[in-house]
Symmetry: C4
Subunit: 202 residues, 4 copies
């Protein structure tokens, strides 16, 4: 199942996709059209309306960055590769590449009274991303790609965290049907906590 | 013809192009414009209309990912480079970079009654991509870039598969003139089969 | 705090983000729409109106390039990594990724009589970028990631320059509220000086 | 002037920019808007109008690819770096990143009777790109970055070719003021010759 070539090229490919997905987020923050803007005050006000877009941009940037850091840490546990591991990583990349879509949705609709679809889809995507993490960890374990017993134990932790994350994000997505704004705040706090946690744990 | 420098930089360049082409697919999934959307229900319905776009996105993502995996495997068979090999790879990259265009076409027109051009162009592009594979394998063989006799044999298999693929995708493109939807389904099943096959073969 | 793995993958990831942010700047230079253009003279005139956009493109390109060169030089001073160092770099990347937004703003509004918001935001972003530099240097010093005492001294210089830069760019952003065009010129000259300085210092 | 660190990171950065500039070319080939298209025949016709865009896409793709191959070959001649060499490369990247703009212009205006600005700007950019090549070769020679005398001789050839190219492309740009279509054909043939030449020379 697993052959012993190093993962350098897979790592570089994943890094490329993470880096591009991160950077592409900016193209959904559109500058105000110059039509209808005649004074500095009007331009400031139009820029103020970009608040939700910039919030969504920073949140998605942080999520992709944290995901990259976790990916980085996971790949230090493995020293082999297998086809199922590569495709599990491909599935993870699919969920990362998709991030700009719900990000733009949240930016456009968060402060309207029909924000629910945006927040539901946003949290559904992170739930699917957690499924991808389970597959990445699972295939690494099943194909015995981990370096040693200690790495395997850490990888099993990853998988367990993945199961937990699927449940949490699915619940958040469900509750967002009724309380989108509250869930947007909870999601932000959750990721801020993750960030603080991984800064302290290191 | 062939000089003996390693292929690291060519590999990295190709990986970059694959990674970007993959990620750029998302920018053709445009969020519904906020004008004309006044209720949550309308937003959900507008999002539902994105179905064909998301289908096309996932299919093209999978095709580029599988192509990258095959590229990855092919490059493990060679340890030298030549100008004709580099340009054959450049032609392969051209067909990969072009993918977002027919993908957007399929997303926009698949469920209309004039879907034929989209599906014809989509399958024509994969036919041209197969020609590029024949050139990549062919130049590798002709310039004796393969590592050993076993690698050369595998490369000859690649080339033969390329010829087969040209015939299959050209036929699919032709039949799509009359039955676009049916061909879209056949194409999807074909790639799903490829994915399963390469997962099992590894 | 700091573990001893090399920074190759972090470096490659940052390089990717720098390279993409640099390249994405071009997509905000839109070609003149063909409607309303009937003669060559009209097309030349419409192209002439892109002057501010091209000025902003070149300025932002130069800023990101110089930032990359500085990043390159800073990373030669460290040989370890830590979570706080990675996230400080992530914050720096956030400010780099955000560049296309104020760049497009300056391109659109610089020659109107409501240019202030564009120039204020542009200089505010470079001020925030300097804060990111302070964090990158600061975390490198606090986690003892520098190679030797000489590297640590250079890193302390970086941090001090960061503090200076925050003050300078904040002042420029403030003055731009009243004199946007003058500040745009001062900013350009400042970066031209930086470029010349780093060409001579090397 | 020149320090002795390897050029790996500069190479990787340049490769990234080349790869992204190449891939971004596709986003200016916009699919026909579904409004006003009611039959398959109308869609085919609308797709036919994309001819000049696809021609410009393939030409620019080939130019960037050939430029990358030349860059690849040039970097094999040097084993050191200097600040002026890095910024000369940065200037070369600026001209590469700018390619999508005249490419889109040519795609939009080539078959109208006001095609001159598009072709003039396209050839002016390749003239400026040749200036960048002179600077890259010149700084490499002046800072003694080349590996040995044979490499220095090849680098001097590069510089001389750069001077020739500046003259040729400037002339083409000038003549394109009166004969844009003819110059577009000459430019294409010139690059096709370059491609054939570098395929045979290798």
């Amino acid at each position: 199942m697993a052959d012993s070539h190093p993962n350098t090229r897979l790592e570089a490919f994943c890094d490329g996709v993470f880096a591009i997905a991160l950077t592409l987020l900016i193209i959904d923050i559109k500058i105000p059209a110059s039509e209808g803007i005649d004074t500095t005050r009007q331009l400031w006000r139009a820029l103020g309306h970009l608040g939700p877009s910039i919030f969504a941009f920073v949140l998605s940037f942080a999520i992709i960055l944290i995901t990259w850091v976790n990916h980085h840490a996971s790949f230090k546990l493995v020293n082999k590769s297998s086809a199922s591991f590569i495709y599990a990583n491909g599935f993870l990349l699919l969920t990362v590449v998709f991030m700009p879509f719900p990000t733009a949705l949240v930016g456009e609709y968060l402060l309207t009274d029909h924000a629910a679809p945006a927040v539901v889809i946003y949290n559904s995507l992170t739930a699917v991303q957690s499924v991808a993490w389970i597959l990445v960890s699972g295939t690494a374990l099943r194909s015995h790609l981990t370096k040693d017993e200690k790495s395997a134990a850490l990888m099993r932790d990853n998988r367990r965290n993945g199961y937990l994350a699927v449940v949490v994000y699915s619940l958040l997505a469900l509750i967002a049907v009724w309380f989108p704004l509250a869930i947007a705040i909870v999601t932000t706090m959750l990721w801020a906590y993750w960030l603080t946690f991984s800064l302290r744990a290191a």
